[in-house]
């Protein structure tokens, strides 16, 4: 089966295809002029959604029913006037569950979530998050106060999560009607007087394991964490092999909930691969130990991988760099193939489940 990757960049959307996962065709750019923060194919109907931003025309969402040949744009997307907030950027799109026809979720800045029930034509802001009682304690990270992670529990149709930088992780047990902070044990070292606050953590990426939904992973500004109780408690994991706890993306193995991949950076004040080496670090034991994987990755290399620029599916894992390369593994990370190079800075990578 052919593999298709949707690669969002600073200069439009590129589509990578391969029949053997070794040689790749690159097409694009689509959505020229738009910064594609995230693009994803909806496995329910094959439609492609892109969170698109322009410094002239603002943030929006584009949808294609023909694999990028033509696009339509959201008609209604904004925040309530009485919220005193205005939409800054669109960041992340999460299609709803099977059976939730037309439903999608959209995360954006400043710390906002939208729901669509008409396949992305109109979007309604989720009021419970806009008016969350802790909002005054939230702060923007370097990329703005972005809602960059939206995760749906595969067992419970009402349980979902969002992660906002720098507000932390929030869990809903009622389909988004209300939200509970889920940051216990997650450090906010930049608050030396109170390094474990209820909210304000700078989570960089949050994932729920698709086959074990009580298990959550996050790459944070202040470490790598795992939770085994739906985010009630978190364990910090970056000892035993990781050169740094700082990084942005995290990827999983859908067949093994003890496996995770991270791509550390030297630190918050020097956001580049440590020791001039691009390395993916993998754990096989739930984060108790980590091993460096670098076969097929360039060295020396001083690069950075953004929070949306890594993903995974049943076939393997994928990531793209700010220097415009995309790497693919099909053997659990043991070796990597450079699927594309010299693209614009890569903002996001997703595999499309097209037949």
């Amino acid at each position: 089966m052919a593999t298709t990757l949707l690669v969002g960049t600073r200069k439009g959307l590129f589509v990578l295809t391969s029949g053997d996962r070794e040689s790749w065709d690159v097409s694009g750019p689509l959505l020229k002029g738009w910064e594609v923060f995230h693009a994803i194919a909806d496995s329910r109907d094959g439609a492609v959604y892109a969170a698109t931003n322009s410094f002239v025309y603002g943030g929006t969402v584009h949808r294609s029913e023909d694999r990028g040949e033509t696009w339509t744009r959201a008609e209604e997307l904004g925040l309530p006037e009485d919220s005193d907030l205005t939409l800054e950027k669109t960041w992340h799109i999460r299609p709803g569950r099977d059976g939730e026809e037309g439903r999608l979720w959209l995360g954006g800045a400043p710390g906002v979530l939208f729901r669509s029930d008409d396949s992305g034509r109109t979007w309604e802001a989720v009021d419970s998050l806009i008016r969350h009682e802790t909002r005054e304690k939230w702060n923007p990270g370097a990329g703005g106060m972005c809602c960059h992670s939206i995760q749906l529990d595969s067992d419970d149709p009402n349980r979902m999560y969002v992660a906002i930088s720098a507000a932390g992780t929030f869990r809903s047990a009622d389909g988004g009607e209300s939200w509970t902070p889920a940051n216990s044990g997650v450090a906010a070292d930049f608050f030396p007087d109170n390094p474990f606050p209820e909210v304000g953590q700078c989570v960089h990426k949050l994932l729920v394991h698709p086959a074990k939904p009580e298990r959550l992973w996050q790459q944070n500004h202040c470490g790598v964490y795992r939770s085994d109780d739906h985010g009630d408690n978190w364990e910090r994991l970056e000892g035993n092999g990781l050169p740094s706890g700082f990084g942005f993306p995290i990827a999983l193995d859908p067949s093994d909930p003890d496996v995770a991949f991270v791509i550390p950076e030297e630190g918050a004040e020097n956001r580049v691969t440590p020791e001039g080496r691009l390395g993916v670090y993998r754990t096989h034991d739930g984060g108790q130990s980590w091993e460096l994987l670098r076969t097929g990755l360039p060295e020396p290399a001083w690069v950075a991988v953004l929070r949306e620029a890594a993903s995974f599916d049943e076939e393997g894992a994928y990531f793209g760099t700010q220097s415009g390369s995309v790497f693919v593994t099909s053997d659990g990370g043991e070796s990597w193939t450079e699927a594309a190079t010299h693209l614009p800075p890569v903002l996001s990578v997703e595999a499309a489940s097209w037949q």
């Binding site: 002029g33 002239v56 603002g58």
Partner: protein, 77 residues
């Protein structure tokens, strides 16, 4: 970019009483205006070659036959 949003069409003929009304009738109006209905800061509007911000603003009345041009402002370095 605006033309690409409407299949490459670059010219529209519209009936409107004001410049704002003409812009709001375009299929790209939600790119030209923000969610509060304000003209985006980096979108320049020219009416018969004159920047509308210097000539009555976007609520300026139209008489008919004017040519309105939308131009993305020069920004950045």
């Amino acid at each position: 970019m605006l033309a690409a949003e409407v299949g490459g069409q670059r010219r529209f003929e519209v009936d409107a009483e004001t410049v704002a009304g003409a812009l709001r009738s375009l299929p790209v109006s939600n790119l030209v205006f923000d969610e509060r209905g304000r003209l985006r800061q980096l979108v320049n509007v020219y009416v018969d070659g004159v920047d509308v911000r210097d000539a009555g603003g976007i609520d300026r009345q139209l008489e008919g036959g004017e040519e309105i041009r939308l131009v993305a402002a020069i920004a950045g370095g």
